[in-house]
Symmetry: C2
Subunit: 494 residues, 2 copies
């Protein structure tokens, strides 16, 4: 107990993780096993004891516990997992993650993270090039623990840019600040407005058009409105790949407005940034290079293991100047190496995970060509799916035109077709997606998300997400439709 396992036993514990994954088809794309063995919380508590106690478990018990954890977890690596903006992971990304965990260090200094410092710099450099930003040091970036934090970096840097005194004086004495984002933008802007002391009332939500894209005329109106209300609008959050509809805001037009109005343009490309890798689809983000800052999550569509999020920003030393606190115990200036390689004071964090290796190792193994290909495969499958749904009786698209890796649609069961679509009909439709989802989960055959969209007056619809890992096939796309029809055909009666 005290000394812990011997070297041989320790290696055995880790090898057992590999075996447990193999047993559950982690390495196959066959998807023979259910995607989830769903149990309600009280049932799961009976089947699986999470309880910790005074005495430890022996090796055989740990062996069993590991299997239970795998057994009752959702198989996000299944080709039938379309429930979130992430899914399976690239095995080289996982290898990077395992190495990251084992080498257990923090990204903050070159001293304790020499290789990771080079790796982070390289993936950031490649990402800056993808976005079309100038190379370091004219632009910079940092790997952060997720898109919400990356978007907060954007707000903090914009605020510091216009009001550097905010760092020492705080918001008191400054004018009320206003944030602009589309009504389809991610809720991290809302959480950021609270945390950063700006207030959610000072978010101006710009209308989106029939394709879910920010309406630039309404953006102009909202800037005027903000000023009328006594706010200083200083930050526009445009989205490349909105969370639900997967829409791309018109970045060039928005950038022109921001330039004219002297407002910081941040692009939340957490989802859509991955399309920058594709020659066929990168035009969806045309104009992104005109922005001031960008968030991109390779842990979403691209299949890097969670968490792997990048914040990129134009401006020499912008990150460091805004965030530095100069802690002497960590960033000693009299160290014997060139301390400009220490990146930690650019961060709001102190200890920071060496997440860059995950993407770096994937990228190294695949090459840019391999990553590009995987994006093109996913986008082709998504477009195939869009056409499939569009032409299928009983399915109705939320957006009339193909946008990207999210495809949103209603399923209308046979009994509800050709009926008067009055309030009662819509109320019924609202129940269809949740009911189908419950059935699918209880059988463990498919996971796909649903959501209403109140600001558009839409009742619950399905949000299909196509990711790069595991590489999607037409067969898997067909399967989604078949499953929805299978579980939904008897619904919608009186």
């Amino acid at each position: 107990m005290a000394a812990g396992p011997s070297a041989v036993e320790a290696k055995g514990v880790l090898r057992d993780i590999l075996e447990a994954l193999a047993e559950c088809e982690f390495f196959d794309t066959g998807a023979e096993q259910p995607i989830v063995r769903f149990l309600h919380p009280a049932e799961l508590q009976r089947e699986f004891s999470a309880q910790l106690g005074e005495n430890g478990a022996n090796q055989e018990e740990i062996h069993q516990i590991v299997r239970q954890i795998v057994q009752y977890s959702v198989r996000t690596f299944s080709p039938h997992f379309h429930n979130q903006l992430f899914a399976g992971i690239d095995v080289y990304g996982l290898a990077g993650a395992w190495l990251t965990e084992a080498l257990n260090t923090s990204q903050y200094t070159y001293e304790v993270a020499p290789v990771f410092t080079l790796l982070e710099r390289e993936v950031l450099a490649q990402s800056l090039a993808l976005v079309g930003y100038p190379p370091m040091p004219e632009a910079d970036g940092i790997v952060s623990p997720g898109g919400s934090l990356s978007n907060m970096y954007g707000i903090v840097l914009a605020r510091y840019h216009y009001f550097p005194e905010v760092k020492s004086k705080g918001l008191n004495g400054l004018p009320t600040l206003g944030l602009l984002t589309s009504e389809d933008g991610h809720y991290s802007i809302t959480k950021g407005a609270h945390w950063l002391g700006i207030g959610t009332d000072n978010i101006f939500k710009v209308r989106s058009d029939e394709l879910g894209r920010m309406d630039v005329n309404d953006l102009k109106s909202k800037i005027v409105e903000a000023r009328k209300r006594g706010c200083v609008p200083f930050f526009v959050n445009a989205t490349a790949g909105t969370t639900v509809l997967g829409a791309f805001d018109p970045l060039e037009e928005i950038a022109a407005i921001c330039r004219e109005e002297n407002i910081w343009l941040h692009v939340d490309a957490c989802l859509g940034g991955t399309l920058l890798l594709s020659n066929n689809y990168r035009n969806r983000l045309a104009g992104i290079e005109q922005s001031n800052s960008v968030s991109w999550n390779p842990h979403k569509m691209l299949g890097a293991p969670f968490q792997c999020s990048f914040f990129l920003v134009k401006g020499k030393n912008a990150l460091h100047e805004a965030n530095c606190a100069g802690a002497k115990y960590l960033f000693q200036q009299d160290k014997f190496y060139d301390v400009s390689w220490d990146t930690g004071d650019k961060s709001v964090q102190c200890g920071r995970k060496t997440d860059a290796l995950k993407l770096w190792l994937m990228w190294k193994a695949r090459g840019t060509a391999g990553l590009r290909h995987s994006v093109d495969v996913a986008m082709e499958a998504a477009e195939y799916f869009f056409q499939l749904v569009k032409n299928r009786p009983g399915f109705r698209m939320v957006l009339p035109k193909y946008q990207g890796s999210n495809i949103c649609f209603w399923y209308i069961p046979p009994k509800m077709r050709g009926k008067l679509e009055n309030e009662e009909w819509h109320k019924k439709l609202h129940k269809i997606a949740p009911d189908i989802k419950e059935r699918m989960i209880m059988k463990g055959t498919l996971m796909i998300g649903y959501t209403p969209m109140v600001h558009k007056g839409y009742e619950n619809f399905f949000r299909m997400v196509v990711n790069c890992q595991p590489p999607p096939t037409h067969e898997n796309m067909n399967y989604v439709i078949e499953q929805i029809e299978h579980f939904g055909e008897d619904l919608g009666g009186d």
Copy 2:
């Protein structure tokens, strides 16, 4: 390239990580290999190419690259790594981390993280009990990406508690808010003050005493001073285990003041919280149960893999009410299971890593008894080290009394002993620690931190950190002294 490795190859890539670790003595405590093969950045760039390109690497190249990454990384798992507040990791914690990475999901909903939801709840429940907080739902907690974020949670919840309108209205219109922390407190309070819009000028730094503990009389004075300056002091950050000196602020006395003054008491126990596991040392944190919120990083002393940080708070629904944004696409209220199990809207993050498993699996394997023992072993080694240094000619303690797992001291080389300790002497002393450190790193024999402490007028001294993993021995403690003497004995001449 496109399809990626076959199932057999994929398993091989992961097994190769295990082999690479074994080759570098990851599973031994022998420490035969150098702790670091230090190369300056430009040299490392020549030895190891981080460059990513159009084409991918083949399996043999990846095999070599993995070995290079390990070879040039710092062996934080060495018994001679005392450089940071973290070090080696528990192999069961690593097994949990590998599983976490492979099962790639987000903690936000029970739907995609059923087992992880139970595991997080259990480690939080155990942590609440350790701290002496009431059980859920009277208290609550969340796993966050590090201590800085956990401390920011504390500030945000305190602010929301006194001024709930801050969420919608922001800080404009509110009085200027004041934060109190000791001059030895962690710099995350500084970064938090900037990010959260409070301003670093509104941090009131309380003096610490000769043992590095917050001076409660000065705390009272600073509260008065804050009010005189027109601030509303609403948050006291007390520290259990300060970053450099490892000191424990007197929590009971501070709690009494906070109660009287109606100020939120947050305890940054990121380092020292681990002592709550020990019957012998938990009295260092007496009074912690009287606080409003606590941060604890099991990824520090206890040896959970980075990142594993807990934020704990008293008050039913306090976390949820402050942070919720009610995103409908994710936290649908019409799901078929009890959605009160969805924890995501308590978080400032959206996607959130399932970090709890790391600690949970360690705890399961060791039992509370095993964790307690490992803390007691570490503390005994630390006390042994303290006595060793205290009684050794040429060494001088920064603190006269043993505090905890950090031991700070100066090494005075023979040539500097018995001399007049004038300004020139102190200037010379300031160079000793960095010079010894450079030599040790270049030889790869030992890593130990050093720092000045300007507010106490101290020139550079060593900060020795004793962690639970790998379990420290007296031999390893002796080794530190011998190394410092070996590399320092000729220094300090004219």
